[in-house]
Symmetry: C2
Subunit: 219 residues, 2 copies
Amino acid sequence: MTSHSFVSIAPRIAKPAPAADPFNLVGVRLPYAADEEIYAQDEDSDFVYRVVRGAVRTSRLLRDGRRQIGDFYYAGDVFGLEPGEQHRFTAEALIDSEILMIRRSASNAFGADGADLERMLWTATAQELARTQEHLMLLARKTAREKVASFMLDLAQRNAAEVTVLPMGRQDMADYLGLTIETVSRTLTCLQAEGLIEFFGSRRFCVRGASRLARMVVC
Amino acid sequence: MTSHSFVSIAPRIAKPAPAADPFNLVGVRLPYAADEEIYAQDEDSDFVYRVVRGAVRTSRLLRDGRRQIGDFYYAGDVFGLEPGEQHRFTAEALIDSEILMIRRSASNAFGADGADLERMLWTATAQELARTQEHLMLLARKTAREKVASFMLDLAQRNAAEVTVLPMGRQDMADYLGLTIETVSRTLTCLQAEGLIEFFGSRRFCVRGASRLARMVVC
DNA sequence: CGTTTCTTTGAATCCGGTCAAGGTCCGTGG
DNA sequence: CCACGGACCTTGACCGGATTCAAAGAAACG
C-alpha cells in the first residue's frame, strides 16, 4: 500500500477566514495512515470532520459484500455530517492524511462561535445533498464511458497542476461509479487510445482533450 | 389521465403539533391538478412545500432527454428544500393534490416561530439527504428485481390498507429506478407469477409474500 | 530480486435495453 | 349500452454493453 503519495487537490469549499472558522477554535487534529478507519458504519458519532491534508473515502457495505462508495473528500472538504444518530457510511483515509474533528454539540456551548458552527454545518449539509444528487444522476443515467469521463474530468478540474494523481485505486473508482474494476480499466484504456487522457503509470494522468471530454459529460 | 384517484399513504415525517407547526402560521395552500408543475428546474425559489393531500414527483431532465426522478412525496412529506439558489429538480403533482407552501426567508421575520421553521428545515434537509443516499445505493448496486421489489415493498409498508394504489405510472417508476418501462413491467409480471405481489388492474396491488419480498431487499 | 498486490486484457455470458407488436384500460360519444 | 380511440401496459425477439471468469502483465514493497 502506498502510504506517502502526495496529492494536491483544490478544496471544494473555500476555507473561511481563520477568525470565523469554528474548526480552529475547538477542533482536534489527528493523523491517519492509508486505509485507516476514521469512523465506522453504524457507529454513532457527534463529530464532524475536515480533511486538512490527504484524502478520504466514505463507503457502505451491503450484507452480501457489495460495496458502494459515497464520496471522496480532499483537503478542505468537510465530511461526516450524515444527519442521523449514527453514521450510515464508513470513512477511511485513502492515503496518509490529517483530519480535523469537532464535536457537533459544541454549537450549544459557544455563543457567537456556536452560530458560526451551525451555519457551517448547514452549508456543508446542503452541499453534501447537492453532491449526492449529482452522484445519483451519474449512477442512474450514464453509460460506463460517461461515468468514467465525468470522474476523470472532475478530478482533473480541481487540480491546478498539469498532472493529476489519483489517490484511489481502480476498485475504489469502480465502487464509486457503480461499475466493475475491469470495466473501469477497459474504459480508461479506451479513453487513452482516443487521446482524451494520458496515463503515466496507473495513478498519474493528464487530460488531453478537455473540451472533447467535457462534451461527453451529459448534464 | 385519471385525475381523481384516491391515495392514502402514511406520511414520512410525523406532523408536528399544530401549535408548533410553522406551516400553519405562514403557509399558503394551493391546489394542483395531475401533472401540473409546482416549480421548474433552474427556477429560483425561496419556498418550501408540504404535501397536504395527493402525491408529488421531483424530476430532472438531461439535455438529451434522459429523465431521472429524484423522489416521490406523499401526504405529510416536505419537499423543495434543495439548498442552492435555484431548484435543481422540477416538481410536479402526480395526481390532484393540495400543496402548502411557505417562504423560507420567513424564518428571519419571526422570533420563536422563525426558530421552529429553521429547525424544521434542518430536519427535513437531513432526512432528504438520508433518503437520497438510500436511493443512491438502490441505483448503483441493485439488480432490476431488487430495485422493483424495494420500491413495491416501500410503498406498501407506508400504507395501512391491504391494497395499495400506485399514484404513478410505469414510466415514472422506471425513471425512479433507473430502468426502462419494459423492464419494470416484465419484473412486475415476474414477481406476480412467483406469488410475491398481486395486481388488480395496473395501479392497484397488494403484497402476498412480505417476508420473502423483504429478504430480497439487500441493505 | 522475489513476492504480493494491483491492473490490464481476453473470451464467453447474461442482464437489461431496444425495437416492434399486441393487449388492456378507460373516457368519450354515438 | 356499445363502439371507438388513445394512452398506457405487457409481451416477444433480438441486440449489445457490462459483468464474469480466467490469466497475463505491471507496479509496489520488503
